[in-house]
């Protein structure tokens, strides 16, 4: 059934770029050190949110091809095979994910048909 509301389709996420204090273009090394400083649960939730945003961004990037019907990691690996240089931190994050984690699927999973 088609959804009438865009917000139903894309989960609303508040921009928290400033809170975490880094932008996408910064190196992953810096990200890691920064994230390890904050071990509180609040930071954990924020981190989760931030990853969600990055992964959605990756899904929506047409440079790496359409995302429907593929696992995120498959799409990332295809992009590597095609020499498209997808962000390494996304690949590393996806590789550490547990089997059955809903974040392994792309954002459109289950929403197209």
């Amino acid at each position: 059934m088609p959804t009438n509301n865009v917000q139903d389709f894309y989960r609303q996420v508040k921009s928290n770029r400033k809170d975490l204090g880094f932008t996408k273009s910064e190196s992953s090394a810096k990200k890691k050190t920064h994230l390890s400083e904050k071990q509180t649960t609040a930071a954990g939730a924020k981190e989760e949110c931030e990853w969600e945003r990055l992964l959605t961004e990756f899904d929506m990037d047409m440079k790496y091809g359409p995302c429907s019907g593929m696992k995120r990691l498959e799409r990332w690996e295809r992009a590597v095979k095609m020499d498209l240089n997808p962000p390494t931190e996304i690949g590393n994050f996806l590789k550490t994910m547990k089997i059955g984690d809903p974040k392994r699927n792309c954002i459109l999973e289950g929403k197209l048909f």
């Binding site: 091809g65 359409p66 429907s68 019907g69 593929m70 498959e74 095609m82 999973e109 197209l112």
Partner: protein, 437 residues
């Protein structure tokens, strides 16, 4: 009785199957869409074209559709989409305005108003100009186009660069005796046009049971038989979707059984490749997977019997073969125009793509990581089965590639098998007739 006791040995050749790229194996359908194929096709072929552009037009900038500027000459690379007025569309059934467009020729959907559109990830642009003829091209072809944007936002094409023919591996020099490969297609065992005697003549001839020592010497040089699709025709009356009652069940397997008996005689004598075609009990969409060996209980006992995919690619003594059971060429005939079937085949080589109309008008498995129909290496022998008549010619590429193009006729209608000399690439037919007039 004076019998020549000298035993004639059959020639042998080394065989290497290259069907791996056409095998679907463990892939599962997980809801992937056809956009993935177009993406991978555009990616790989654009990389190829980008490497050719500096040699073709070194002075011109390469643009994307979104980056076009009016009046500025540039090179565009993208996928062709052919807008066709007469092409049947599934949505027409639901259309409220019932404007019935008469189809003049039911086997061809071309119309003078057809036009081409070029697409890439950034957008699409309508193509104009006399250089690019819509009747030649079909949806799914990747081209590099030279031209400029006109005032009415069309792209005026001035020159075209095609991706192929791809480079060819060097053809080995085959010394010693000649070696032949026999192609046959459209046996249609079980159909009303199938003539058992005619096929038996073929089997006996190829295996060396017919003729004198002189003929047998020639027959012994046949190293392989390739059956290019449509070997079986199951009567339409049993394919109704209903449960087949026990009385009719024999109609289903009788043709396969009959084919198995003939194939056994062939496989005893020499290696046999069998490819699936439209009428065979294989999957519908391309690449068609190899027929199950269980269908041929007699023949599958021999290790000279190979069930192959369609398209089929292999090497014999270093000579590369590539071919299909004809679906790709038949589909091009519906959506484009050429003077003969060989010209369609030639075009697929020039586009470096075996079946550009997949997945648009020809069924195809939704691959996500590759496009198996992209021709990376030019074959030496390129064949196409199930055509109405035999035709063949040599194609010479710009880099000196030499390709033998062959249209294999339907055996049940013509009684013609095609013989190719793998050393010289020369080609001739074998005609079998049971007509005594």
């Amino acid at each position: 009785m004076d019998v020549d006791r000298k035993v004639i040995q059959r020639q042998q050749s080394t065989y290497r199957s290259m069907d791996e790229i056409f095998e679907i194996k463990n892939e599962k359908y997980r809801g992937q869409q056809y956009s993935q194929i177009y993406f991978t096709r555009l990616h790989h072929m654009r990389n190829l074209l980008y490497s050719l552009i500096p040699k073709w037009r070194p002075d011109l900038p390469v643009c994307t559709v979104l980056g076009l500027e009016e009046g500025k000459q540039c090179v565009l690379v993208g996928t062709i989409y052919k807008h066709m007025k007469l092409k049947p569309r599934i949505l027409d059934e639901y259309s409220k305005e019932r404007s019935v467009v008469p189809i003049v020729k039911p086997h061809n959907f071309m119309h003078p108003e057809d036009h081409l559109i070029l697409e890439d990830e950034s957008g699409r642009v309508k193509l104009s100009g006399n250089v690019l003829v819509p009747s030649v091209f079909v949806t799914g072809v990747i081209l590099a186009l030279l031209g400029k944007e006109t005032t009415d936002s069309e792209f005026l094409v001035e020159d075209i660069l095609e991706a192929g023919p791809p480079s060819q591996i060097e053809r080995p020099v085959i010394g010693g005796e000649d070696k032949y490969v026999v192609f046959v297609s459209g046996l249609c065992v079980g159909s009303s046009t199938f003539n058992p005697l005619q096929f038996q003549l073929f089997v006996d001839h190829v295996t060396g049971y017919l003729g004198e020592v002189k003929e047998q010497c020639i027959e012994s040089k046949i190293v392989r038989v390739v059956i290019a699709g449509n070997s079986i025709e199951i009567p339409k009356c049993v394919l109704t979707g209903q449960t087949v009652n026990s009385k009719d069940q024999s109609k289903l397997f009788e043709p396969i059984k009959e084919l198995d008996i003939s194939l056994t005689q062939l496989a005893v004598a020499m290696p046999v490749d069998i490819m699936p075609g439209t009428g065979d009990p294989a999957n519908f969409s391309l690449p068609q997977q190899a027929l199950n060996r269980c269908l041929f209980p007699g023949t599958s006992a021999y290790n000279t019997f190979f069930t192959c995919t369609n398209p089929h690619s292999f090497e014999l003594d270093g000579v590369r073969f590539l071919g299909t059971s004809g679906q790709n060429i038949d589909d091009l005939e519906k959506y484009s125009d050429a003077k003969d079937k060989l010209e369609f085949m030639e075009r697929t080589l020039r586009w470096s793509h075996l079946a550009p109309t997949t997945p648009n008008t020809l069924g195809c498995y939704p691959f996500t990581d590759r496009d198996p129909f992209f021709i990376e290496n030019c074959p030496h022998i390129y064949f196409c089965g199930n055509q109405s008549e035999y035709s063949s010619r040599m194609l010479k590429g710009s880099e000196g590639q030499l390709v033998r193009l062959i249209c294999i006729p339907r055996f049940c209608e013509t009684g013609v098998a095609v013989v190719v000399n793998i050393g010289s690439l020369e080609c001739h037919t074998l005609n079998f007739s049971t007509n005594l007039d």
